[in-house]
């Protein structure tokens, strides 16, 4: 005799659970197939499975640890698997003050990442030097690497880091597949001395 069904019999659809699900991109649906354009699917897949590299140097790193914790969960955006090897990561999150001694290290880590790669400067120190306008602090990591998103704050609240992450996701979603080979991107890298 089959056991009576006890769960999931009242809720009709996932909308009732209050969970936001990712919208389907526009395309053609049929019996057993769905046709859309490549860059929409690639953008969708990339943005929900970013592998960040937390380059945490100081106080903003502790706020990042709070963001990774269960209260402000970064894993629900798909960024659960943080890696420490730049060869395996998409997003370089530089969190904390970068001193002039550390600048070449940031550049080397950036060079080791494979395309497509994004950079997020978290905190006032990574964006512009912060409160440390001194001889030993790099006044923003955009002196050495091209940055996509800046998150201000000292330190930024975890909600602000999540907001920055969502903006990176927008960038990833809408990026054209030909951008990395185009002349504007090459000129940008040339201006930083990166081949």
């Amino acid at each position: 005799m089959a056991r009576p069904v006890r769960f999931n019999i009242l809720q009709k659809s996932t909308q009732d659970w209050g969970i936001n699900q990712v919208d389907m991109p526009e395309g053609h649906t049929g019996e057993g197939f769905f046709a859309t354009s490549l860059d929409k699917v690639v953008g969708l897949a990339r943005k929900n499975s970013m592998w960040p590299l937390p380059f945490a140097t100081s106080c903003c790193g502790i706020e990042f640890m709070a963001t990774m914790g269960s209260h402000y969960d970064l894993a629900r955006f798909g960024a659960e698997r943080v890696g420490f090897s730049p060869r395996q990561c998409d997003l370089l999150m530089v969190m904390g003050t970068i001193a002039k001694k550390m600048g070449p290290v940031v550049k080397q880590v950036y060079l080791q990442m494979a395309e497509p790669r994004w950079v997020m400067a978290v905190g006032a120190c990574a964006s512009s030097g912060g409160i440390f306008d001194t001889y030993s602090v790099l006044q923003g990591i955009d002196q050495v690497v091209p940055v996509d998103v800046y998150v201000p704050g000292c330190p930024p609240r975890p909600e602000a880091i999540l907001d920055g992450f969502m903006k990176i996701q927008d960038l990833v979603h809408n990026e054209s597949l030909r951008r990395r080979n185009g002349p504007k991107y090459k000129a940008l890298l040339e201006s930083y001395g990166i081949q």
């Binding site: 937390p54 380059f55 945490a56 140097t57 100081s58 106080c59 790193g61 502790i62 706020e63 990042f64 640890m65 709070a66 990774m68 914790g69 269960s70 209260h71 943080v82 420490f84 904390g96 003050t97 001193a99 001694k101 550390m102 070449p104 290290v105 080397q108 880590v109 060079l111 409160i131 440390f132 001194t134 001889y135 030993s136 602090v137 000292c154 330190p155 609240r157």
Partner: protein, 408 residues
């Protein structure tokens, strides 16, 4: 590619067939930026060479340009896991220089905040030792409860991590009732979580095998290296600035100093664990004492020092003396004594000292931070010589090296 990062091979390493491994400045997130170049023979470490300074922010030079009340924001960023202790230590230094005496209620409120900060710092250190041995769960549990501590900070000063809490002479506002409610909630909920965390590690076979006997230092060597704080107490010396030179009315509280025997990683973990229990007891006693103040005394949250503590804004707009004091304090016209003072507090990592030389002006002539992490990191080379690589990693995280404090 690596010509801007020079890794010099140690002398004779090619003949002796040892491997050079760069435990570079980019650690897996949690520890901070410092570099160790290890010379290994198989798995055993023969020699290490430590390099720090990857986050040198020139605090001491900046402090020569800022008035005393603006240096509090710099002290936040020293040991950023427990910034209120640094803030209070700086305010105590200024009060010693300027001759300001704080009332008892202010002292007890400061004790509550400093002990919460100490719990917060030890929690990070202990859970990261757990993560390095492979136990990620303890870290996630503990981060959830640190959010409760952050909420208490937010009620008091508005900020979570770099708190800039308090003023010279007291606090900027009285603690609200919500702050006390949140403190009660924390005191009610947290002890059983701490017990769970302790049970998860203290007699866990894997953890004990990895940490007992590794990273040991004897008491004589620790004293010679000027260790302070939990690292020194784990080696067996019961030196705690709160007991030796009590500040902020610590002499009114009843607590013990937990001491280890062998100075290894397990002892450091257990000493920090016991200190968390002692801090919880101190917070309960301080909260009881604060609640005993009734009537007008319950509204006192700063010292009566009009030369250094900004008057109420309502008074500034209506009374003449308050306007003059406000102007003098903000423009830096108040007379401050010239002299030298050294004041130390018990930070999360040991004796955090402030050596302030003032020439009577608005900004210090020289300010030096005696940073415990910088001083005890020198001993790392001696501690890990001869041990295995995996033990060296655990030692690195159990010594609680906070890069902000190390480089300043």
């Amino acid at each position: 590619m690596s010509d801007h990062i020079n890794i010099k091979l140690p002398e004779g390493s090619i003949e002796k067939q040892t491997t050079t491994l760069n435990l570079g400045p980019t650690h897996p997130a949690t520890h901070g930026v410092f570099q160790n170049i290890l010379e290994l023979d198989g798995e055993r470490i023969i020699k290490t060479e430590s390099t720090v300074g990857y986050i040198h922010r020139a605090f001491e030079k900046i402090a020569e340009r800022r008035p005393l009340y603006q240096i509090t924001t710099l002290t936040d960023r020293l040991n950023y896991c427990s910034s209120p202790i640094n803030n209070m230590g700086w305010h105590l230094t200024c009060e010693k220089l300027l001759g300001v005496k704080t009332p008892k209620r202010v002292d007890y409120l400061r004790v509550i905040i400093m002990e919460l900060a100490r719990i917060s710092d030890h929690l990070i250190c202990n859970s990261i030792v757990g993560v390095d041995t492979g136990a990620y769960t303890g870290f996630l549990y503990v981060m959830q409860y640190r959010e409760l501590i952050y909420e208490i900070y937010e009620e008091v000063c508005g900020s979570r991590l770099t708190t800039n809490m308090g003023r010279i002479g007291g606090f900027e506002r009285n603690f609200s009732d919500t702050a006390f409610l949140k403190l009660e909630k924390f005191l009610a909920e947290y002890p059983k979580v701490q017990q769970e965390l302790e049970d998860l590690f203290a007699r866990n076979r894997i953890f004990v095998e990895r940490t007992k006997g590794t990273g040991a230092i004897s008491a004589e060597r620790a004293l010679n290296y000027s260790f302070t704080g939990p690292n020194l107490r784990a080696a067996g010396v019961d030196y705690d600035v709160r007991v030796h030179s009590p500040y902020s009315s610590y002499e009114d509280f009843d607590f013990i100093i937990p001491v280890g025997t062998s100075g290894d990683n397990y002892d450091r973990f257990m000493v920090r664990n016991s200190e968390i229990w002692e801090s919880l007891s101190i917070i309960r006693q301080a909260y009881q004492k604060v609640q005993n103040f009734k009537g007008a005394e319950a509204d006192v949250y700063h010292a009566d020092a009009p030369e250094y503590y900004l008057p109420e804004k309502g008074d500034v707009y209506t009374k003449m003396e308050a306007l003059i004091w406000h102007f003098k304090i903000v423009m830096g016209e108040t007379e401050s004594p010239s002299g030298e003072v050294y004041m130390s507090v018990e930070g999360g990592n040991g004796e955090l000292g402030f050596y302030l030389i003032s020439d009577g002006g608005r900004t210090p002539y020289r300010l030096h931070f005696r940073r415990p992490c910088f001083i005890y990191y020198q001993a790392y080379e001696e501690i890990v010589r001869g041990s295995m690589l995996s033990d060296a990693i655990i030692t690195l995280s159990s010594m609680n090296l906070i890069a902000g404090e190390m480089d300043a």
